[in-house]
Amino acid sequence: MENKEFFENLKKIRKQAPPELDEKVFNALNKQRKRLWLLTPVFATMILLFIFVYLTKMTQNDELMAVTYIVELRQPEEYGIYSGEVPLDLEIIPKSLYSYTILENGDTLDSGEFQGLLQDTMVLTTGYHRITIKLKNYSTGEEQTVERVFFGL
């Protein structure tokens, strides 16, 4: 046998895939297909729908939840009349992160952010003080204005 012929005859020892390979491959493919199904557009739409419904429900719950704004000047008042530098408290229930701007008779006094309880001070001179607190809830984007009137001595 010549060299060339010998090497060409190597094909005779070429291995044939055993029959169990078919079963192995197609079983693995079926598993793969099941996994791929999870990524199909239908499934993705279902997930998006679920998230949408969940978020909508949460938002609706937030709207239904009562928000209480408590604004008070921490100094004993005498007939609603205050004097000098007095602490100002604003408590919002339930707690959330807010940005705030305090205005006195339309002029900005202070601004910043707080969570749940805002503590500030202000000087009340003689006369009428219209205190406006503009609030923005960071998580819901909701804006709210709280206004109180105090008299200074």
């Binding site: 020892i13 291995k15 044939q16 895939a17 390979l21 491959v25």
Partner: protein
């Protein structure tokens, strides 16, 4: 797509299995690796752009997969080779003696040399295709093939050419 895949599988399963068998020297490893290669083919069939022949594309996936298998575990490679030699000894009576001698001689070749013999003589890839598959210049393909043939002759000794 599924029908296409089935046709491709039926046409190339022996090619991939044979390559994996000689690459690992183990029918068990070859079975697992061939299955993994066809899963890869199934996942990536859409990406086949026809830049090479389908046969070369499939074999490229197989060679890459085999290389990553060997880089994953050298221990497994040694284990599978021992198993293979045992297997050949166990089945000695069932096979033609000369055929077995050639198989044993092939298994004794260096992995790279055996690989090139399998690709060129058993699977019929051209020098150029082998160069693409293995990422080596055509000149290296030719010289490696000649070296592999010489070594196979040496191993076979008197049995060579019979």
């Amino acid at each position: 797509m599924d029908r296409d895949f089935t046709e491709i599988y039926r046409e190339y399963r022996d090619m991939v299995y044979n390559y994996m068998y000689w690459k690992t020297g183990s029918s068990e490893e070859a079975l697992d690796l061939t299955q993994e290669v066809f899963l890869k083919i199934y996942k990536n069939l859409r990406k086949f752009r026809g830049e090479s022949s389908l046969k070369t594309w499939i074999m490229k996936i197989a060679t890459n997969h085999a290389n990553s298998f060997f880089s994953r575990s050298k221990f497994r490679k040694l284990l599978s080779f021992n198993k293979s030699i045992e297997y050949l000894q166990d089945t000695k009576n069932e096979n033609n003696g000369l055929k077995l001698e050639v198989e044993n001689a092939l298994l004794k070749l260096r992995k790279k040399e055996r690989e090139i013999i399998v690709l060129y003589y058993m699977e019929g890839f051209s020098y150029k295709e082998i160069s693409t598959l293995l990422g080596i210049p055509i000149g290296t393909v030719k010289s490696r093939l000649n070296r592999a043939k010489e070594n196979l002759k040496k191993i076979l000794g008197d049995n060579y050419g019979k």
